[in-house]
């Protein structure tokens, strides 16, 4: 009985493997159209999961056949129709199981019409966000004067904390190891903690002599933590203004 079920499972895997081979071709076409490597689209865990499901479907098919006929077939070696049936079950049944799983688990693959509609809606939103993200990614961070000496992130952080310490109400002795995750809103009060600190830094020490200019939208988005704020200024130093 066990050998019979394992045989069914292996044949189910074979069916699912054939299905995956066709899928790989489609994936390669998609990758080519996007000018990507197929590795960028390939998902190993998903493939293995599908093959395991194919194994289970093959076993289930073998079991159902045995129950339906009241006995394990003895002519497996010659009755190729039964073997092809198990392979077909693995080929087609995986889709059923994945669709069944998707129906009850949110992370499942799109199967039902409702799920496809949801997937399309998400895709439309994603495309919309993609446009916005593309615009967002083009935000300029700012600049410094042409020809200024390079500066490290640690130096920037030190200068930022020194600048902060000079302001009324600030901790006059901030910890140099203040975590990068510290929100700027914990250091500066309203109405605009991030840009207010940026403007104060523009006029502080080396930042002032280097002609630091911080673009507000970029800093408002990316400079909300101390670490992000430091990286924003680093970005400005990577974009020196033309002389």
């Amino acid at each position: 009985m066990l050998a019979y079920l394992i045989l069914g499972g292996l044949l189910g895997m074979l069916g699912q493997g054939a299905r995956a081979a066709i899928g790989l071709k489609g994936m390669a076409d998609d990758a080519k159209a996007l000018d990507l490597s197929p590795n960028d689209l390939f998902e190993t865990a998903r493939l293995i999961t599908s093959i395991v499901i194919g194994f289970l479907v093959g076993m289930a098919a073998a079991l159902a056949y045995a129950i339906g006929h009241g006995a394990i077939p003895t002519d497996l070696a010659t009755n190729y129709q039964i073997l092809i049936g198990f392979i077909a079950a693995g080929y087609v049944g995986t889709d059923f199981l994945e669709g069944f799983i998707a129906q009850y688990l949110p992370q499942g693959a799109p199967g039902t019409a409702a799920q496809k509609a949801t997937a399309q809606k998400v895709a439309a939103q994603t495309a919309d966000y993609a446009v916005k993200a593309a615009a967002l990614s083009q935000l300029p961070c700012g600049y410094v004067n042409h020809g200024v000496a390079p500066i490290t992130a640690q130096e920037i952080k030190s200068l930022v904390l020194q600048c902060y310490a000079t302001l009324p109400g600030a901790n006059p002795h901030p910890n140099p190891k203040t975590p990068d995750s510290t929100p700027i809103s914990a250091l500066m009060g309203p109405p605009d903690p991030v840009y207010t600190l940026a403007l104060a830094c523009e006029k502080f020490g080396r930042f002032n002599t280097d002609g630091l200019m911080c673009q507000r939208p970029y800093f408002e988005v990316y400079g909300q933590t101390l670490g992000g704020f430091v990286q924003c200024i680093q970005c400005c130093y990577n974009h020196p203004k033309a002389a």
Binding site: G23, L36, L41, G111, Q120, A123, P190, V221
Partner: protein, 419 residues
């Protein structure tokens, strides 16, 4: 084969019914296939899509935010902006963004009561919103008395409600940081009520009711000693609580911000502070055309009010670890405020000085502590459980209100609410 299919019965039928898209379920799954196809259909998306797929290790279906984490610039920090407010940011079509906001503010009928719409826009972008501006506002106050014995009713209103409709942030269009530029703007219609309503009508039934629109511009320049300024332009129509007065006009104001001198804003985080101090200054010019003074003491004709408002606020026992330990819930609640207004009408020579002093006790502190964060950080980052801010204040007012030219000399105990 027939027997086999019969054994599967309905299961096999379902299998065939759902057998679609082999490629979709086998190797695709990092991002929706629809998006891939969208990328194919729109060549303009191609560079972005390529980066999206390489940068996004999770299915796009599960999270939208990683889509925004596409690193394009050098040394990009980890961005995590809420996608619904991306429109506040400039796009490739111009230096400024445009975002519909729709937010109601309720404050005192007071020029200095933090009508800073820009700060709300900032909080929309921030993943670590700063303390609500409402928590620092005086707030609106309304009282109503029905004297059954005398058959008189009295209502006193000091409130301004504005509705922030849209705003945005702007990039510097110049390559010279010394040239002033607009870095943000906001547009908000408002309704203002200030004065007394009496039934029956008495001599003290003076009031001002305004409707108008605030246009706020944030202007920055590294050249100026005060690098940050907010400008307000507010056209309005004014009447009184009975709709008799007919007054049109426009208000122009300038409010500077300089953290170096605690003007308009200040730093925080001093663990040993027993007090905080902040002061505000607002210069103002108001042009009015009084067609019918109604229930005000204004004179018919044109007026040009020029003046300023200066306000100072002393926070006693601010919220920090030391004060919380020593003073418990008292920390972060008490403040003393004083303000002085002076306006001069260049058309009639009238003066309108007005002075106010108050001590306030905040009822609904917006603070939380959590985990291993320091209390200050937790208080700054925690979402307010109470959206508005309420306070009890004891106030003394003396002077002449420029909107009504009514003289005042009064003590008040008020319950204020700001939203």
């Amino acid at each position: 084969m027939t027997h086999l299919l019969t054994s599967f019965g309905a299961v096999a039928f379902l299998m065939l019914g759902t057998a679609t898209g082999i490629a979709q379920t086998t190797v695709q799954g990092k991002i929706p296939l629809e998006l891939l196809r969208e990328c194919q259909k729109n060549p303009g998306f191609m560079p972005y899509c390529a980066q999206l797929i390489k940068a996004n290790p999770q299915p796009a279906k599960q999270t939208i935010q990683p889509v925004l984490q596409v690193p394009v610039v050098k040394n990009p920090p980890a961005p995590n902006p809420p996608p619904q407010v991306v429109s506040l940011l400039p796009t490739g079509t111009g230096p400024c963004g445009f975002g519909a906001v729709n937010k109601l503010f309720v404050r005192a009928a007071d020029q200095m009561d933090n009508f800073n719409y820009d700060s709300y826009l900032v909080n929309l972008l921030s993943s670590t919103p700063t303390t609500s501006m409402a928590a620092d506002a005086k707030g609106a106050s309304i009282s109503y008395t029905d004297n059954v014995a005398n058959g008189t009713q009295t209502a006193t209103i000091d409130a301004r409600a504005s509705y922030l409709m849209f705003g945005g942030f702007c990039n510097d269009p110049f390559t010279d940081r010394n040239i002033p530029f607009v870095d943000g703007y906001a547009v908000a219609p408002f309704v203002l009520g200030n004065g007394n309503w009496n039934e029956p009508l008495t001599k003290t039934s003076t009031s001002a009711a305004r409707v108008g629109t605030d246009l706020q511009l944030a202007v920055t320049s590294a050249m100026l000693p005060i690098s940050r300024s907010y400008f307000y332009i507010s056209p309005f129509y004014q009447t009184d609580f009975r709709g008799i007065a007919q007054i049109g006009g426009a208000d122009f104001a300038w409010e500077p911000f300089a953290p170096e001198i605690a003007l308009g804003t200040s730093a925080k985080g001093d663990p040993n502070a027993y007090y905080t101090f902040i002061w505000q200054f607002k210069a103002e010019a108001e042009l009015t055309d009084v067609s019918n003074p109604g229930l005000t003491n204004l004179i018919k004709g044109n007026h040009t009010w020029i003046g300023e408002t200066t306000s100072a606020t002393l926070g006693i026992l601010p919220l920090n670890a030391q004060n919380e330990k020593s003073w418990g819930d008292i920390a972060g609640r008490i403040s003393v405020n004083a303000s002085a207004e002076y306006y001069y009408d260049t058309q009639t020579g009238a003066n309108a000085p007005y002075y106010t002093a108050s001590i306030n006790y905040k009822l609904g502190p917006c603070k939380q502590t959590s985990g291993q964060q320091s209390r200050e950080i937790a208080a700054a980052t925690a979402a307010c459980t109470i959206q508005g801010s309420s306070a009890i204040s004891f106030e003394y007012d003396w002077g002449t209100n420029k909107d009504t030219l009514v003289k005042t000399n009064q003590y008040l105990v008020k319950f204020n609410y700001a939203y």
